[in-house]
């Protein structure tokens, strides 16, 4: 019999505290977002698929030297980088930068190995498609299209 009434008191008190907690939650604003209509800003640290970096704000050229370090270091072999020598231009000119996102493991070794910081992670996360071909990105076109 000892503690019988104390159990009722402490139990009832904790039950009321619990009700208070949920009541406060009812009053508080909702935290979920109605996704297709509302979006929250993505963090700058997001590691999306890779993309070429612009030369600067207004210039749509890129920094790539066509050294091929990214393609060589890629553990998935998802990058194809080709360049050609042109008359009157110093160094190579990038002609092909194909990126197979279906194979990419998003390890980021290409971004780290790039000596000119010509590669970065994009902040795009709404990726959906009906075929594999839609995820074979042509990064040069992507840069120009921006």
């Amino acid at each position: 019999m000892s503690g019988y009434f104390r159990d009722i008191y402490t139990g009832g008190k904790s039950l009321l505290i619990g009700l208070g907690v949920t009541f406060k939650a009812i009053i508080k604003p909702v935290v979920t977002v109605q996704y297709p209509r509302e979006k929250i800003d993505v963090t700058p640290n997001i590691r999306g698929h890779i993309e070429l970096v612009r030369f600067d704000e207004n210039d749509s050229r890129h920094n790539c030297l066509v050294c091929g370090m990214c393609a060589k270091n890629c553990p998935c072999g998802c990058l194809t980088v080709e360049g050609e020598k042109r008359e009157g231009v110093k160094g190579k000119v990038l002609t092909v930068f194909d990126y197979d996102f279906t194979k990419c493991s998003l390890c980021g070794i290409c971004v780290e190995s790039c000596s000119r910081t010509a590669l970065t992670f994009s902040s795009e996360y709404e990726l959906a498609g009906f075929s594999r071909q839609e995820f074979h990105f042509d990064l040069i076109k992507r840069l120009e299209g921006k």
Binding site: I8, L19, T22, A25, I26, P29, V30, V31, T32, Q34
Partner: protein
């Protein structure tokens, strides 16, 4: 219009028929409204939005869910007892409508007024457990069987405190007639104001939670343990009838609480309670109680079976017994 009213008053069978049709409508409407409110409040407690897509704030969601359920195939498991399996949802749903017929919505608005209304309602409400047992047994599924068995074992534990706490009100009014019980509380003196009857009210609310098979006492359903308990095997509107009956039982439990303890159709502060205003006060009390039940459901985790038995046999039954004795003593003295 007057002719129609005369016709209805002359033929009491016609009156009964209309009352039953309206009450079936109310039972379904109640399930839709409460289902929507439950989903919305549950979402707010978990800081979500709940249904938002269909209609403003998703208010059409429950109606569309009902349409979806109507369109679905009624599957009977191969080894199930076909007759009992089909019978169980009806046996669960019919008593709910029959109880609704005996509820006094206001002084003039009721299906039937019985002199033993309270006994009738309690008797009908206990058929629910029978329906759950039949559903669990006929499904031929271990989870359904466990759910049904739990429901029956739970039933004995919570019915006694419910009856004892209601009995203390009956001792006070000396009547089983719900209209007389409501009239006895006219004006300020609702029964929940008296200390001894307030204890009975609290006991009734706790045990009523168990009667409606809702969390924290939803052991017969217990999603995480028994998939869906007794209605695991039900599809389409067989399941729909169980859901409608569950909300109907919630309404009945809240309306009994408001009739017995909160003055039924009497307005607060002695406010007017005519045929229509009375129904308004009654329904608002019922809805406040149902919202409290939803709030409780989404606050507490499910109790273990022995914890439920402990609560009922060690706390609720002794308290309601002592309370009944005190009430009897007070009634005799005053």
């Amino acid at each position: 219009m007057q002719q129609i009213i005369d016709l209805i008053q002359t033929y009491s069978l016609l009156r009964m028929l209309i009352a039953f049709l309206v009450l079936i409508g109310i039972v379904f409407l109640n399930a839709i409204v409460m289902g929507y409110l439950e989903r919305k409040i549950a979402a707010r407690i978990q800081r979500r939005w709940g249904p938002m897509e269909i209609g403003v704030q998703g208010w059409l969601q429950m109606i569309l869910d009902g349409v979806k359920m109507l369109a679905k195939q009624l599957i009977v498991p191969r080894d199930a007892d076909r007759f009992l399996f089909r019978l169980a949802p009806l046996l669960c749903f019919t008593p709910v409508v029959m109880i609704f017929a005996a509820l006094p919505f206001s002084k003039a608005l009721y299906g039937i007024n019985l002199h033993i209304g309270l006994i009738y309602i309690i008797a009908m409400a206990s058929i629910n457990v029978f329906a759950i047992l039949i559903a669990g047994w006929s499904s031929n599924n271990k989870y359904s069987m466990f759910g049904a068995m739990r429901s029956v074992a739970q039933n004995i534990a919570y019915e006694i405190p419910i009856l004892l706490s209601l009995l203390s009100v009956v001792l006070t009014t000396a009547s089983f007639d719900l209209q007389k019980i409501v009239e006895a509380q006219s004006g300020w003196l609702w029964f929940a104001v008296y200390p001894n009857l307030f204890v009975a009210f609290v006991i009734y609310l706790i045990a009523g939670c168990a009667e409606t098979n809702r969390a924290p006492f939803d052991l017969p359903e217990a999603e995480s343990e028994l998939t869906a308990g007794f209605h695991t095997e039900y599809s389409g509107f067989g399941f729909g009838l169980f859901a409608v009956a569950e909300y109907g039982n919630l309404f009945i439990m809240a309306s009994i609480a408001s009739i017995m303890f909160l003055g039924g159709w009497n307005g607060p502060f002695g406010l007017a309670s005519g045929p229509l205003m009375g129904a308004f006060w009654f329904l608002s009390k019922v809805f406040v109680l149902m919202l409290v039940m939803i709030w409780v459901r989404w606050t507490y985790p499910r109790v273990r079976f022995d914890q439920l038995m402990n609560l009922a046999w060690k706390y609720l039954i002794p308290f309601s017994l002592v309370n009944l004795l005190i009430t009897a003593f007070l009634v005799k003295m005053i």
